[in-house]
């Protein structure tokens, strides 16, 4: 496995590899996300209590769980970059931070738009909402640190440390609905064994979740390639690449 993985520590190989798989991710994203959203908006049945406001669920839940998933991915990359000094891990962490921040903002906003008709308030300082807001600030801090230093390696180290400290927030978000009494409802989808949803609500959710996850992958892929170029701009392979493309 190490033999197989080793060439991908080379930025040039990774740059070209990601360039090759990117169009496939774009195509898959378009297919799954459009299927999921059309299904969610037009064909999924309305909730018996919440009516059609329940359709916000199809954005809110994927965005919220991806906002945490991206953070975990970023933390793994930060760990690798701190321990093994992998430059590419640094680049991928820098690529993930803005995407995670946007998905956290989407989770908060859609949650707010769902909370107003269901709970009667746009915002409440409850455990789940507050910890998700802290996640947004953590992302913003990581982005700021990545841009705070001229030297990308130094910036990466500082951002990695903040990322790893912030990991503590992830279980807090995840279990906040069980540890504290909150207005936020418990999980509906990930109950193993018996998901508390009917199958015709679950299928569009699966498509939406996959679609958003693929969208995240696509955007991170693009940003990752930008970061690779930024960190290798004086290498001969980047020079040749740029010359070839400008001809």
């Amino acid at each position: 496995m190490w033999k197989w993985l080793h060439p991908y520590a080379n930025p040039e190989v990774t740059y070209h590899f990601t360039g090759k798989i990117l169009p496939w991710f774009v195509a898959l994203t378009v297919i799954t996300l459009s299927t999921g959203l059309v299904w969610a908006l037009l064909f999924a049945p309305a909730d018996y209590q919440q009516g059609d406001s329940f359709r916000i669920f199809y954005i809110h839940v994927p965005a919220a769980s991806l906002s945490m998933g991206i953070y975990v991915g970023m933390a793994v990359a930060a760990f690798c970059s701190l321990i093994w000094q992998l430059k590419l891990a640094d680049a991928s962490a820098a690529a993930m931070a803005p995407v995670g921040a946007v998905f956290t903002a989407i989770a908060l906003l859609t949650g707010s738009a769902w909370g107003k008709p269901m709970w009667g308030t746009w915002w409440i300082w409850d455990a789940r909402l507050t910890s998700e807001l802290i996640l947004l600030f953590l992302y913003l801090g990581v982005i700021a640190l990545h841009n705070a230093f001229e030297d990308k390696n130094l910036a990466g180290r500082a951002a990695s440390i903040l990322t790893l400290v912030g990991v503590i927030n992830i279980p807090i978000i995840k279990y906040s609905v069980e540890w504290w009494n909150t207005l936020h409802q418990g999980s509906t989808v990930s109950k193993l064994g018996k998901p508390s949803m009917t199958i015709d609500m679950l299928w569009p959710f699966i498509f939406c979740f996959l679609g958003f996850a693929l969208l995240v992958t696509t955007i991170i892929c693009i940003r990752f390639r930008t970061e690779i170029l930024a960190r290798n701009s004086i290498r001969p392979w980047v020079r040749n690449l740029v010359i070839l493309e400008n001809k």
Partner: protein, 89 residues
């Protein structure tokens, strides 16, 4: 299909404002993210190309200056030789 008509669909069972706010805000934010990611990728390439152009220009200028200085030196040496010859004669 859960809705009888298009206006029924846009009405979202009375929750139109909230549902379309959520979907609209998400669409706008994701579109901005995709566009900015794409354009920063292109900008990065342009930046690298520009820097490269500037470097080659600087290198050529330095080369030119070196040859000019060389010629200048040679001319000066020639002039000195001529001077010394005049003094001798």
């Amino acid at each position: 299909m859960q809705f009888d008509s298009i206006s029924d669909f846009f009405n979202m069972g009375g929750y139109a404002f909230f549902v379309w706010l959520a979907y609209g805000a998400t669409a706008v934010m994701l579109a901005l993210l995709v566009i900015s990611s794409n354009s920063s990728f292109k900008k990065m390439k342009q930046q690298i190309a520009q820097r490269q152009k500037r470097e080659t220009k600087l290198r050529q200028a330095a080369q030119l200056q070196r040859t000019l200085e060389l010629e200048h030196d040679q001319q000066e040496q020639q002039a000195e030789k001529n001077n010394s010859k005049e003094v001798l004669s």
